[in-house]
Amino acid sequence: MEYRVIISGFGGQGVLFAGKVLAQAAVYDGVNVSWLPSYDPEMRGGTCNCRIVVSDKEISSPAFSEADALIAMNVPSAERFSPDAASLIVTDAAGGEVCKDGAKVQVVDVVGCDTALINMAMLGAFIAKTGIVSRDSVHAAIRSVAKTGAQEDIDALGI
């Protein structure tokens, strides 16, 4: 089975980091994975996204347009990518309001959450909902990918 995820938000929110954690966790689970970043001119404050494919078979296309799931860390991301997400949209309350199909939306309460950890809160909610990677693997992946503050990231996952 091939599972396709788009993670999107502002540059600086840890969009690519969250994607790398998910990809590395899939590696620890022993399945195939691809991670494709956007590399637009903007960085901090601009839009940013990455696409991850997790599969038990050889991955056909890392550059897909239609996804199974979307993690949208801001409103522009929810607006842009929610039509491409077939079954699940993980976002905050404001992002949820702009998604046309409310049945797919899983709202993560980020009120009071450290803005640097919203990426982990949303990734944790996504993994709790889908079980696409194991809890142990995602913890190990954070320890592998994070340069500093791995424990804070793990705590913010909530799983």
Partner: protein, 349 residues
């Protein structure tokens, strides 16, 4: 052990494994990770990393290092590769081996920084002046970015033809699992032609591309042409997917082939007998792959149609359709599937 790596980094690591001794580069998106990796790791491996003052300078440094018999390399992206063309022509004219990497972005001009495949003509038809060819490799995964780099160094040394890795922004930027412990073997060849001092010889070697006597230059060109003919017979390389019973064959290289493969799977699940031919080398072009009985080919490229011309030449009158995106837009899986369906329905296949 397999690990996650970016395409650009896997390519650079494979070059160091291959024994590259000289890397000359200049930054440009989306290939800069190659130079960055080389800056960090090549000196530790006993090689020279040098950021030149321009792309033109970098390719001429490759000319010098290759002429001295070292495994030498440069990398850039489309506008930078255009700047290198004069040097590439000289290197080809001097029959020197080297590896040139083009992580393609959209053109013409400065174009954009997103992935593209619009430098096919430049790579396979000779972007510089004169009758010459490059060995052109088309990686479609991070593993192939690594594997083909090793093969490019091997074949370039063996044939004394400069090699080009024709990659793109997506394949360079993406991470996938790659097994760096299972790369192709390194093949070493003597280089008695190298301009590296007399070394016990009576006369020193000279690297030259200037022949003022037309008879002499024609003879040199004709000799090189024989080598190209042998390469065409021996080096064609492609991959087939579900072609055995296929009536519509999609053909694409690099990242487009990955996306096309997903579309072929979707077409199969709808009962359409689709398949895929993926050239792994673009020069020599795998003409032999297209000598078959098929209702139609659909050539998919991130350009306005470049490889499709070679497909038409190879397909010998068979129906060849084209679908492409440009400007840095990726080809779309659903759009490819729709084109397959259209062709299928028109032909009552």
């Amino acid at each position: 052990m397999k690990k996650l790596m970016k395409g650009n980094e896997a390519l650079a690591a494979a070059a160091i494994y291959s024994g590259v001794k000289c890397f000359f580069g200049y930054p440009i998106t989306p290939q800069t990770e190659i130079a960055a990796y080389m800056a960090k790791h090549l000196p530790k491996a006993g090689g020279v990393f040098l950021q030149a003052e321009s792309e033109i300078s970098a390719i001429n440094m490759v000319y010098g290092a290759a002429g001295a018999g070292f495994r030498a390399m440069t990398s850039s992206s489309s506008p930078g590769i255009s700047l290198k063309q004069e040097g590439i022509s000289y290197i080809a004219g001097a029959d020197l081996p080297c590896v040139i990497v083009n992580v393609m972005r959209a053109g013409p001009g400065l174009g954009g920084i997103q992935a593209s495949q619009s430098d096919y003509f430049q790579a396979v038809k000779g972007g510089g002046h004169g009758d010459y060819r490059l060995l052109v490799f088309a990686p479609a995964s991070v593993q192939e970015m690594a594997d083909m780099t090793v093969t490019a160094f091997n074949l370039s040394d063996k044939w004394r033809i400069p090699a080009m890795i024709l990659s793109d922004g997506v394949t360079g930027q993406m991470m996938e699992l790659v097994d760096m412990d299972d790369l192709p073997e390194i093949c070493r060849y003597d280089k008695p032609w190298a301009a590296n001092g007399k070394g016990g010889r009576k006369k020193h070697n000279i690297i030259n591309t200037l022949y003022l006597e037309p008879e002499e230059l024609e003879a040199v060109d004709m000799e090189r042409e024989k080598k190209y003919e042998r390469a065409k017979a021996e080096l064609q390389d492609w991959e087939e997917y579900m072609t055995d019973d296929a009536e519509i064959i999609v053909t694409a290289y690099g990242i487009s082939a990955r996306i096309a493969r997903a579309a072929v799977n979707a077409a199969r699940s709808e009962g359409i007998r689709a398949g895929l031919i993926r050239p792994k080398m673009l020069w020599p072009f795998p003409e032999d792959a297209y000598k078959r009985d098929v209702k139609a080919y659909l050539c998919v490229e991130m350009s306005r149609g470049q490889m499709v011309e070679d497909v038409r030449l190879a397909a010998g009158g068979a129906r060849v359709e084209f679908y492409g995106r440009c400007g840095g837009m990726l080809v779309d899986e659903t759009e490819i599937l729709n084109r397959i369906k259209e062709i299928h329905d028109e032909g009552n296949i």
